[in-house]
């Protein structure tokens, strides 16, 4: 028990340090601590399940220890930015004012091909349009385009945007979502009327129906219903 506890803490710290050394590109949208816990917990939990001769406590103690370490370190990193930089690293600027920072590319072991892959995944094909590209601590790339290449917003072209609010689902696979209906200030009578207007006889025939803040309705009947 005690040995499991101490071993878990040693392996946890070792993996966090290893992942920091491996760099951000290995993380895949998780912070180093989260990745370590995700890697270890699945294996630790599986071991006593596979071997009934191993007491369950051999899985429980390390899992609880890891969770506690993760919560504790996450809390500390929120409070102390220096410790956060030490554990999670800091964002790396790969493109600054259109200039590729080659030293940062080398430091993060990112090739130009990989940078292009990341940019293409964000639908950017011309690197010259990128003003800033920042490799975040969780391994994702944030891109800021030059204003000339940024998507135009309604405000920029002086159009009043029509905020319709977020649509609310009122029928989900034939089930009436009563709470959502109440949220919209509507009742079942209104719902049945709208359904019959669209050719369905009862909510069970509807696959999905959603209503936005302006009262616009999205409606789809179930396959085979009329």
């Amino acid at each position: 028990m005690g040995v499991s506890f101490v071993r878990t803490i040693i392996v946890f710290l070792l993996l966090v340090v290893s992942l920091r050394i491996m760099g951000k590109r290995q993380l895949g949208e998780l912070e180093p601590i989260e990745l370590v816990v995700a890697i270890l917990i699945s294996n630790l939990a599986a071991q006593p399940l596979q071997d009934i001769g191993t007491p369950l406590i051999y899985g429980i103690i390390p899992v609880l220890t890891l969770l506690s370490c993760q919560v504790l370190i996450s809390g500390i990193t929120v409070k102390y930015s220096r410790i956060r930089r030490m554990i999670c690293g800091s964002p790396s600027i790969l493109i600054d004012n259109g200039q590729i920072i080659q030293s940062e590319m080398r430091r993060n072991r990112i090739s130009i091909d990989e940078l292009y892959v990341e940019l293409r995944s964000k639908e950017i094909t011309d690197i010259a349009t990128v003003k800033h590209a920042i490799l975040e601590t969780n391994g994702t790339l944030s891109v800021i385009l030059y204003p000339d290449f940024s998507p135009v917003t309604p405000r920029e072209i002086g159009i009043a945007s029509d905020d319709v609010g977020s649509p609310v689902c009122v029928i989900n696979d034939g089930r009436v979502m009563s709470d959502n209906l109440r949220l919209l200030g509507r009742d079942i009578k209104w719902l049945n009327k709208e359904i019959s207007k669209r050719g369905a006889s009862e909510p069970e025939d509807v696959y999905i129906m959603s209503v936005d803040g302006k009262g616009n309705i999205y409606f789809a009947v179930k396959d085979g219903s009329t």
Binding site: M1, V3, V6, P55, Y58, I61
Partner: protein, 126 residues
């Protein structure tokens, strides 16, 4: 902040339980080893009744802790320990002093190894 306090408390509890477990296991194995060694000594003097009593008491003490040992020790270790006890008792019943001596040494060695594995020391951690 509540979460962090809870996590710290949980770590402290796990650590305290680990230390308590190490202490308890060390005491338990120590008691059993004493009885087994006494049994070996009595067998060497030819006092088979005392040797048998001590060995049976040791085996009983071990068996009484079944619920605890099954929670904290690998089941293969428990089974192999039980086999060692059966072997020791078998040699005592057949009044084979030489075999009792080696069986008692085996039981003592096995018990102290179980206890040492649980001690938080460089050797057992790495």
């Amino acid at each position: 902040m509540k979460k962090e306090v809870f996590a710290t408390a949980l770590l402290a509890v796990i650590f305290a339980l680990s230390v308590a477990n190490t202490y308890f296991l060390d005491r338990l194995t120590g008691q059993i080893i004493e009885l087994v060694e006494e049994s070996g000594r009595m067998a060497a003097y030819g006092d088979w009744e005392k040797a048998q009593n001590a060995a049976e008491q040791a085996a009983r003490l071990w068996k009484e802790q079944d619920p605890y040992t099954h929670i904290v020790l690998r089941h293969s270790d428990i089974e192999s320990m039980n086999d060692d006890f059966y072997e020791l008792l078998e040699h005592i019943y057949s009044h084979d002093a030489g075999a009792v001596n080696s069986s008692a040494a085996l039981v003592s060695e096995h018990l102290s190894s179980i206890s040492q594995i649980e001690q938080i020391r460089i050797g057992s951690v790495f």
